[in-house]
Each structure stands twice: as C-alpha cells, then as structure tokens.
Amino acid sequence: MAKPEKIKTPKPGEIASSIDFKSPATDWMDTPTEIKPGNFCWGAKEKDLLTLGLPNPRQWSPLDDDWKLPEGWKSTILDGLSDRLSKYRSFKIFMDICVRCGACADKCHFYIGSGDPKNMPVLRAELIRSVYKKYFTASGKFLGRLAGARELDEDVLKEWWSYFFQCTECRRCSVFCPYGIDQAEVTIIGRELLNLVGLNIDWIAGPAAACYMKGNHLGLEPHAIKGNIESMCDDIEDLTGIRVDPSFNRKGADILFITPSGDLLGDPGIFTNMGYLMLFHELGLNYTWSTYASEGGNFGFFTSNDMAKRLNYKIYAEAKRLGVKWIIGGECGHMWRVLNQYMDTWNGPADFLEVPKSPITGTVFENARSTKMVHITEFTADLIKHGKIKLDPSRNDHLKVTYHDSCNTSRGMGLLEEPRYIIKASCNNFYEMPENTIREKTFCCGSGSGLNASENMEQRMRGGLARANAVKYVQDKHGVNVLANICAVDRAAFPALMDYWCPGVGVYGTHELLANALVMTGEKERVTDLRGDDLPGKEGNE
C-alpha cells in the first residue's frame, strides 16, 4: 500500500498574514459600480413613462445586465449634454471651474454616512465632468485620461444612474464651495440626461405620472381627497367638539390652499393637515381646497425641467379658474424651492392674482409680490406676531421639541425663523440641534429628491445618519422626543430614520404642534392631543 502523501498544512501565522483587511485601492475610474439590493430604487415602469411621454418606455430591472437602452443612446446622451451646455451657462461653468479644493468633499450626508468616495460632491460631478472633458474639451480629446477624461460607455451610464440617484439635491455642499458650484444642478442635469434614454426610478416616475393624470403624487381622485379631509374633520370634531367645514373647488374664495398630497394620506402627515384645517377654521378664512391642483410637491423636478414646468402649471391655472386673489402653500420642502425659484419664470407672471395680503393682520407679503404664493409658516408667524390667535403651549408640555430645517426651505429660500417662531409660541420645551447641523448647514433627511422609496432603506439610513446623529445628541442631552419639520418628505421619511437611529423620537409637522396649542372658540375641554395621546395633567380622562 502506497504511503499517503503528507499534506503540508499552513501554520496559523501564514493564514493570518494572508488575510487582507484593507479595501483595494483603485482609482475611482477603475472602481466598478455595483448595483445591489438595498442601495438603489427600482427602475421606472413602462406604463409611467408612456403616461408622461418620456423616451424608451419598457420593462427593465437595474439588476439585469441588459438595461434595454435605445439604439443610438450614446449620441442621444452626448447631444443632450451639448444642448444643456449651450442652454445653461451655470452648468458650463460648473463643468469648467472646479479646482478640486475638496471643500465640498466631506459635507455630503451620503459621503459622511457611507464613506464611498463617489459620494463626495466633487467626485459625483466628476462622473459627468470626465465625459464632458472627453467630448467637449481639447485637453480631454488629446490627453484622455491624463486630463481626467473618459469615454462614455454603458458602465459609465450605469454609474451615473447609481450616483445621481444617491444625491438628494440638498445643496449642503454648495454652501461650502468657494465658487458656489451647485451640485444639485449637476445632479438635475445628470438626471435629465438619464431620462433621455429612459433611466428614471419608479419612485419618481410613478408619482410624476400620477400627478400628471390625477393632480397629485398619490393619485388620489377628487372624491378620495374630499373623503380624506372630511374624515379628518370627524376626528377634529371628536377632539374639540367643533365641526370644521372646508370647501372644495369653490369659485370666488379669496385664497387657494395647496399642500403636498402626503399630508392628505398617511401618518403623520394627516395630523399636520388637521392643523391647517383647525387654524383656517378658527380664523374664519375665506379659502378653498382644490381637488385638481391637489399637489404642492413636484416630482417632475426630479425628472427634468420640462416635466417640472408641466406639473407646476396647474397651480396658477387653478387659481385663475377659481378666481382667487392669492395662494397659501402648506408645509413642504422641494415644493417651495420650485415655487420660490422657478414657478414665476415657468408659468408666470401671475398678474391675474393680487399681491398677497393677510386678511387678518393686513400684512402685505412683499417677498411673494411676484409669485403670489405665501408659505404657511410666514402666514401663521405673522398671525402670532399680531396676537391674532390664542395659544396654550402647556398642551405640548409632554413634548420636547427640536426642529429640522428642510434643505429646500432653508437653503433654497432662507426660511429659517418663521417655523421656529411658531414652535416656540406653541411649545414650552424647544431645543436646537448643534449649530453645524441646522439652518443653512442643515443635514438632509437622506431621502429627498424622490429617494424615499422603501427598497433603498440601507441607503436612506446611512444617508440620514448625520441628521439622526444630531437628533440623538439632543435626545440624550435634553430628552427630546419630537423632531418637528415643515416638509412632507421629512414626515414620510423620518419615522423610519428615527426608529433606526434614535427610537423614541416622534415626527411632527409644525402646524400639528400649533393645532395642539390652538385655543379654538367654543371648543370643549381637550384631553388628548391630535394623535390621541393624553395631554399633560389629563391622563386617564378618556
């Protein structure tokens, strides 16, 4: 019998030394993009692209190798890039002017949470800049990679898709850029280009299609909107004994009220909506809801400039049809960037409307002289300033509140003080988060710009880490249990973020807190807040 060959087994030290704990150090251009579950949102559905009339409608999955790109996709993208370089001077400058100083690099919440270098704003822009260089600059054409240029191929396109849908267009990086490069605009153009070949995500294309057909992102039809609001009125009656009776599509009302549809359905947005209803009733405001212009938000803004303009059109059109004098808009984030910065240029001038003037205080909202649309926190803060509503902040004594500045309202329109003014008048316990996480430097929720789907939950959790980390700090230090905000996406996205990073912190709209404190004429004694939680000192008084 042959003697078995002796097998030499490695010594423990040999195994240990062969384990490499380090990540491979490859240049970003050589690091492939991996599309894997938890890190991306599903691709846009064929039916939604058909509804919106967008190119290349087909069923596809980002997990497949073949993304079913249209024939000639490369020239479509390059022609699209060329168009936008000549049309938008800002974009051309952003492509040329960056000196790679790195000031933006560590300011992005996705980079902070993930550590993925391609989430550095400078590098995210470089994904598109490298292609710009290759095809539109002499240095890139001749020197290629030496000049930071690269060919556009399918892998590059997939990389764009992955990373332009990992940017929430929050613009925190632009606050720190010495040249003022607005990374959100680079992402916006990147997404426009992707849309030219049918590469959107379902969470954006679906709501945009619903908005195009039904007037709101959730696809609520008029009877559903009316029904939902009436059932909120039932709840308000149970709470206060007062029957609120709002009107719908009423011609001749003074004011049209428009809010994101997220407030019309689902917890906790509905409580904010009840707040609007209670406030307007108490004021006796001559206003109406619209079941057609039933969406303040605009997921078209996350698709293309044209789509955003198209979905926005209904706001002025409905104001004109109903013959109102001016418009109040509800608590929302990107809705206000669109209304404040773009609406007037797209679909204005709204010269058939009057300059907004509060019928209660007589204040003229000069800042809205052109758009004719006032943010509800501006309207309400003005009421409080003039002592026109009675508030009992002790009704919120069971809540310890901090406030999250939404990216779009803070950086997009400078709305910093009004929400705080309302919260401080409505609540006795208010605590600010640390200075470098609020106001202009606020950290994004990690789910904005259409990324609040469920399938990318891991991405959302790491994107929101920087925000949640600051909330956790005030939770540990002051016992904060409420994260107040003025954004419907925040209200939809934060509950999950809080549950993961700082359980015990609830998410409240600012007008929910106001409505808790609002003393309404002829109301019965309240024993609970809007959510049915016992008011302080009224425990067991069911």
């Binding site: 240990a16 704990f21 380090k22 990540s23 150090a25 970003w28 991996e34 938890g38 890190n39 690099a105 560590d106 980079y111 902070i112 949470g113 993930s114 550590g115 993925d116 270098p117 550095m120 029904g227 939902n228 059932s231 359905l265 689902g266 917890d267 906790p268 509905i270 640390p434 470098n436 996480t437 469920s454 399938e455 939950m457 891991e458 991405q459 959790m461 790491r462 880490l465 920087a466 980390n469 600051a470 700090y473 939809a492 509950p495 999950a496 549950d499 993961y500 990073w501 069911e542």
Partner: protein, 184 residues
C-alpha cells in the same frame, strides 16, 4: 484575568486602541480613511466618532473584565452604522476580530517574554464572546431594516384601510397584550 497581562494591556492601551481604530478605518476606501480619522467634530464625522469612542470603551471593558452587557451600547452604536454601510455581513463584523490582531501586534514581545499565551487565549475567548453579542446586534439591525419597510407601508395605507372598513382597531381598554419585544 491574569494580572500581568492586564497590566500590560493597560500600559499599552492607547497604542492598542489606535492600532485597532486604524485597522477598522482600513476597511473603508483609501480615499476616505483620512477624513474618518482626522475630522474630530462628532457632527461632521459621526462614523469616525462612533468608532473612535466605541473602540476605546469596548477595549476598556475587555481589559477590566466588565460584564460585556454593560458596554453593549457602544458595540451597538458601531454595528448599527456598519449594518447599513456597503459591507457583506462578514466584512461588517470583522472589526471585532481585529482586536486580536492589534493586541498580538502591540504585545508580541511582552507576551512571549512573560509566557502569557494561556492568559492571551483566555482574553481572546472574551473577544469571541463579544463577537457573539455582536452577531445578535447585527442580525437585529438587519431585521429592523425590513421591519422599517413594513411599518412605512402600514403608515401609508392605514387610513385607507380603516376608511374602507378593511381594518378594525381594537380599543385600548380591550388591548391588554403586553409588549413582548425583548431588547438586547
């Protein structure tokens, strides 16, 4: 724990902590380690902060032979972060075992000179125990990510289902079922 080893660990605590922290940092892309290590502001760099603070406290607990359940909060903080970063489960958890590497590297000579191999094995068993706790935390975090998706769907549809009489809420007084969720 063997007093000699404990003394050595205490003596070299800061070097071991640094070695371990650096080793954890190397699990991140090279372009990022500089930022994670250097930015000391806990709000500008929550990941670096959580790992720096957590690694120090966990090592302290191991050296002092404290009940590991006491330092689980710091372990939880680190794992909660790594569970949502782009790691496979094994890579996310590998950082625990890197303590062994750091201790061996920093105390190689002393352990050999003082014949402390038995004591080292005992210490490393404690690290294995920590790894098992860590596994529980990691699994819980991953389960929670799925729960969050379900909860989100419920929040969105609850009103509709209630309105359509497809859902009935049990009044509070009838609901005496206690919260059975156990926390780790």
């Amino acid at each position: 724990m063997d007093m000699k080893l404990k003394d050595l660990l205490n003596e070299k605590k800061s070097a071991i902590t640094k070695n371990w922290f650096d080793a954890i940092m190397e699990t991140y892309p090279t372009d990022t380690t500089g930022f994670l290590k250097k930015q000391k502001d806990m709000f500008a760099n929550p990941v670096g902060h959580v790992i720096a603070e957590g690694s120090e406290r966990i090592l302290e607990a191991l050296i002092e032979g404290e009940e590991l359940t006491d330092s689980l909060r710091f372990l939880d903080d680190i794992i909660r972060v790594r569970a949502v970063q782009d790691f496979t489960p094994s890579k996310a958890m590998a950082f625990i075992f890197l303590i062994k590497k750091s201790v061996r590297e920093e105390l190689k000579k002393e352990i050999s000179q003082n014949h402390l191999y038995d004591a080292l094995l005992e210490f490393e068993s404690k690290i294995d125990e920590l790894a098992l706790f860590a596994l529980d935390i990691y699994s819980k975090c991953r389960e929670q990510l799925n729960e969050l998706k379900i909860d989100e769907l419920k929040r969105l549809t609850f009103t509709l289902l209630k309105k359509a009489n497809l859902m009935y809420e049990i009044p509070v007084e009838e609901f005496e079922h206690k919260d059975l969720k156990c926390n780790i």
